[in-house]
Symmetry: C2
Subunit: 230 residues, 2 copies
């Protein structure tokens, strides 16, 4: 967290505020990560209890979002941060919105694990595994970048999304073929498709968070910028 | 825009800043609305040229997002707003992020209009019309609430989303049945499904914007609150 230059602030109180809010974001990030890996495990092991636990835990993520957002607003109002400090707070406000929605996507995946699949259809769910692993790694990398506020690492991590998109498209083609060959399977395959879509969306949201980190460190908006220009 | 109480600010410069940024959000909102209605028209009239125009226009929405975000950051840094003023700027920062993503959803809908559908399949696309009209009305209502910063109207508008969700689910069931009856149509039906999904997502994002308006006016976070409690 060297990039935060926390030492340089004249106001010790401001440092404490910043450190506290960053700690809360990390706690929230850890919880979101657990929700995503638990939902994937629930699907791959057809573990309905674990899936229900994921659904029951989502409110904690929502609470984190509301309280951190409130914390950030109060810091801006009280400490009137400028330049880098303000960019950091704004980056945090945006990050927690994306984290909260990653939590919602985990819920969608968990819901699929509460549906009943025949043994042969369980293979279908297993087809999510590669995509799931890739997305979980991206989320891990993104949270690491956030913890270290490392823009270079965020630029690298950002590129992981294009592989996720390719894997997602390949899986989608495979699932469409499956539906055409066995139309009775359509409702189940559609559930798998929604899970795959949720995973793809998590990738997009990790990419957003990487962009906020780059914005904070470099002071430059890189949304809507091609990977090369970045 | 009476709720903004623009008259009460001591600094005339701050008033000008606020009015300018709100005007920019309204311009952005108007453009987003046009993109959504154009994409729907492109689908219903199989108008490939119009669809391409929607795809070509998206960069303007992205530019709006980046420049308004930048404007808001500079206002916070320079004017150090507190309480209601700060809440307004933060609500704007969040609103433009959702508007930008509504623009992305319009792009997804327009992409479907660039695909080729047989005459009989064109009926499928027409099934989007009701959902599309409903979503376009919700977007219109949301932008009206924003223009007037009317929290009561935002609470009312917020409820429109549950009807959209119901319509979306009914359409989804219909499309699944269609696929099961005619598996050769699956690729085309999937395109319609993605458009329907995009519309449903636009509804969710309008709902977010209503919540930001309520947050600004009432100073209360209503995300994750049931409609009754709201």
């Amino acid at each position: 967290m060297d990039n935060l230059n926390i030492g340089r602030h004249i106001s010790g109180q401001f440092n404490e505020d910043l450190e506290r809010v960053i700690n809360h974001v990390m706690q929230m990030g850890g919880l979101v990560q657990k929700q995503v890996t638990d939902s994937l495990q629930a699907v791959s092991e057809a573990d309905e209890d674990l899936a229900k636990q994921v659904l029951a835990n989502d409110y904690q993520i929502n609470n984190f979002e509301v309280s951190i957002d409130d914390e950030c607003t109060r810091i801006i109002a009280k400490r009137q941060p400028a330049a880098g400090d303000l960019r950091l707070i704004l980056a945090i406000i945006k990050t927690i919105a994306d984290l909260e929605r990653i939590g919602d996507e985990a819920e969608k995946i968990a819901e699929v694990a509460t549906e009943s699949f025949s043994k042969s259809q369980q293979d279908l769910l297993n087809s999510l595994e590669n995509l799931g692993n890739r997305v979980a790694s991206f989320l891990q990398a993104t949270l690491d970048c956030f913890t270290r506020m490392d823009a270079e690492a965020a630029i690298e991590a950002h590129k992981m999304d294009s592989k996720i998109d390719k894997e997602y498209e390949a899986l989608m083609r495979q699932l469409m073929t499956y539906m055409m060959e066995d139309p009775r399977s359509i409702p189940q395959v559609m559930s798998v498709i929604w899970s795959a879509r949720a995973l793809e969306r998590i990738g997009d949201r990790c990419q957003n968070i990487c962009e906020y980190i780059i914005y904070f460190v470099k002071g430059k908006v890189v949304r809507h910028t091609s990977p090369e220009d970045m």
